[in-house]
C-alpha cells in the first residue's frame, strides 16, 4: 500500500521550474500565443496600439488581472460550486479590472482617459476567461501563476511590437509612461518644413494594426512551420 503513495508524494514535490512548468511560460510567447495563434484579445490589440505608452499600461493592466485572476481562481478551485463557476470567474476578473481602473484614474489620469473603455473591456478579454476556465480551475496556484505570466507576456509583446511600429511610422515618435512622447525625427525632414518625409497617417488607423498583426503572424509561421494548418 505504501508503494502506491510514493509516486504521489514525488509528484507533489515537482519543482516550480520543472520542464513542464517552463513550457507554461514559453509556450504562450510563441507556439500558443494568445493573439497570433489563438487569435484572442484582438479587439484591444487593435484599438490601443497607436502609442507605445498606452500599450505598456494596457499590457501591465492585463498582466495584473491575469495573474490575480489565475492565482485567486486556482486557490478557490476546490471551493467553487460548478454551477456558478463562470459567474465566480467573472466576478473575480471584474473586481480586479475595477481596481486597475481606479488605480489608473488616480495615478495615470491622462492614459486612463486615452484607454477609456478598453480598461473596462479587459473583463471580456477572452484570454483571461479562457485561461481561468482551461487552466486555473484545474491546477495549483504555482503553475497557474506561471501560466498567467506566460499568457500575459504573450499578449504584451505583440502589443508592444505593434505599437512601436505604429508609433514610429505614424507619429515619428516613441512614448513611454512618465516620459511623454519623444519625437526623434528632425522637423526639417518633414514636407511641411521643406523636407521629403511625411508621417503615414494610415498607421494611426485601426486597419494598420490588423495588417501589422498579420505581418507578425506571417513571420511567425514562416519560422515555425508546425503552426501552419493543413488544408
Amino acid at each position: 500500500m505504501s508503494t502506491e503513495t510514493t509516486p504521489a508524494v514525488t509528484q507533489k514535490k515537482e519543482s516550480l521550474f520543472s520542464k513542464k512548468n517552463k513550457k507554461l511560460l514559453s509556450d504562450p510567447l510563441n507556439d500558443s500565443n494568445p493573439i497570433t495563434v489563438q487569435v484572442l484579445g484582438i479587439c484591444s490589440a487593435l484599438a490601443i496600439t497607436v502609442q507605445l505608452q498606452q500599450a505598456v499600461i494596457m499590457s501591465l493592466s492585463v498582466l495584473f488581472v491575469m495573474i490575480g485572476g489565475n492565482v485567486i481562481i486556482s486557490l478557490m478551485r476546490n471551493m467553487v460550486p460548478d454551477r456558478i463557476r463562470i459567474i465566480v470567474q467573472l466576478v473575480v476578473v471584474a473586481s480586479l479590472v475595477i481596481i486597475v481602473d481606479e488605480v489608473l484614474q488616480a495615478f495615470q489620469p491622462d492614459i486612463s482617459e486615452k484607454l477609456s473603455v478598453f480598461v473596462g473591456l479587459i473583463i471580456t478579454n477572452c484570454i483571461i476567461m479562457g485561461r481561468l476556465e482551461a487552466f486555473a480551475l484545474a491546477n495549483k496556484p504555482g503553475p497557474s501563476f506561471l501560466d498567467a505570466i506566460g499568457n500575459g507576456m504573450g499578449y504584451a509583446w505583440i502589443l508592444l511590437v505593434v505599437s512601436i511600429v505604429r508609433e514610429i511610422f505614424g507619429s515619428g515618435a516613441i512614448s513611454l509612461p512618465g516620459m511623454g512622447q519623444v519625437k526623434f525625427l528632425p522637423t526639417s525632414w518633414f514636407i511641411s518644413e521643406g523636407g521629403l518625409y511625411e508621417n503615414n497617417n494610415l498607421m494611426i488607423l485601426p486597419p494598420m494594426a490588423l495588417i501589422t498583426v498579420g505581418i507578425i503572424i506571417w513571420i511567425q509561421r514562416s519560422r515555425n512551420q508546425a503552426l501552419i494548418e493543413e488544408n
Partner: protein, 290 residues
C-alpha cells in the same frame, strides 16, 4: 499504523471529493452551499472594492479638478498641463460666481479654489445637475424655449461662471453640458466682456463615434467658434448648421456624419447661454447705472 491511517483517508477521498471544511461532508453542488458561497464572495469583493475606491478618491478628485481647470483655461486660450493647472488657474480666473435659473447671482468668491467647499461655485457639479434635472426638462419642453426656461427657474439649480482676466480684458467662461448620440457631451465657452462675442470654446465627449461625432473635441471644430457672436435678438442664440449651408457670424458648420452630436452641441449652447445671458443683462444694467 501511520500507513493504515493514510490508507483510510485515501479510501475516504475516493468516495467524497476532498474539501477544506474539516470532517463534515459538504455537498459543493447543493443549493445552500452555492448560495452561501455567493453571499460570502459578494461580501469580500464588495468590501475590497469599496476600500479601493475610498482610498483613491482624494487623488481622483484632485485629478478631476485639475482637468476642469485645464479645460477652463483652454477656453480662454491658455494651455496648461496637470502640473501648473492650479497655479495658472489662480492667475487667470479672478472671480467665481454662481447664478440661479433666472440669472440672479447666488454666490461669488475670489478666494483660492477649495474642492471640499460645497459653497464654492467651482464645486457645482453641472454634469450631475444636468442628468438629474435638466435632461428631463429639455425632453418635456420639446423645443419650446419658454417652457424650458420656466422649468429651469423652478428647479433649484445653480450655474457656475468663471470671470477671467487676460491681457487686461475680462472674459467669462461658461460650462456647458448636453447629450450627444451615445452619451454626455460637455464643454466650456469663453465670452468677451461685451458678453456676446465668443472668445474661445472647447468640447469633449464620453462615447461619441470616433471619426464622426468625436471630432467635436478637435481644434478644427472649436477654432470655428472664435470671434463668432451670439444672436441676442433672434430666436436662436447660436446655431450649428448642416453641411453646405452658408454660415454667418451667429453660426458654424457642423460635423459631417456627426449630425446628432452637432445638434447636441447646438442645444447645449442655446439652453445654457440663455440662462447666463439674463445674468449678463442684469450686470450690464447695473454697470450702466454706475
Amino acid at each position: 499504523m501511520l500507513a493504515s491511517v493514510k490508507n483510510a483517508q485515501s479510501l475516504h477521498s475516493n468516495n467524497v471529493p476532498p474539501h477544506k471544511f474539516g470532517v463534515m461532508a459538504i455537498n459543493k453542488n447543493s443549493t445552500v452551499y452555492t448560495f452561501g458561497f455567493s453571499i460570502a464572495m459578494v461580501i469580500v469583493v464588495g468590501t475590497s472594492l469599496a476600500y479601493t475606491s475610498l482610498s483613491l478618491k482624494d487623488r481622483q478628485d484632485a485629478n478631476a479638478a485639475d482637468k476642469k481647470m485645464m479645460n477652463i483655461l483652454s477656453a480662454i486660450g491658455v494651455e496648461a498641463d496637470r502640473d501648473n493647472a492650479g497655479a495658472l488657474f489662480s492667475d487667470f480666473v479672478v472671480e467665481r460666481v454662481s447664478i440661479d435659473g433666472s440669472g440672479r447671482q447666488v454666490n461669488s468668491t475670489v478666494s483660492p479654489v477649495d474642492p471640499k467647499d460645497k459653497q464654492d461655485p467651482f464645486s457645482i457639479e453641472v454634469m450631475k445637475d444636468y442628468r438629474a434635472k435638466i435632461k428631463s426638462a429639455v425632453k418635456a419642453a420639446d423645443g419650446d424655449a419658454e417652457t424650458l426656461q420656466a422649468a429651469l427657474e423652478s428647479a433649484e439649480l445653480e450655474f457656475p461662471l468663471y470671470r477671467c482676466s487676460k491681457d487686461n480684458k475680462d472674459l467669462f467662461v461658461v460650462p456647458l453640458v448636453g447629450s450627444g448620440l451615445w452619451g454626455p457631451i460637455w464643454g466650456f465657452v469663453a465670452l468677451e466682456d461685451d458678453m456676446t462675442t465668443i472668445y474661445g470654446a472647447n468640447f469633449d465627449h464620453k462615447t461619441e463615434t470616433p471619426g464622426l461625432g468625436a471630432e467635436i473635441r478637435e481644434g478644427f471644430f472649436t477654432d470655428k467658434f472664435r470671434g463668432k457672436k451670439l444672436n441676442t435678438a433672434g430666436p436662436l442664440l447660436f446655431s450649428i448648421l448642416k453641411g453646405g449651408a452658408q454660415t454667418n457670424e451667429n453660426s458654424v458648420d457642423g460635423i459631417t456624419g456627426g449630425t446628432i452630436t452637432s445638434k447636441g452641441v447646438d442645444e447645449m449652447i442655446n439652453r445654457t447661454l440663455a440662462v447666463y445671458l439674463r445674468y449678463f443683462e442684469s450686470q450690464s444694467l447695473t454697470r450702466a447705472q454706475k
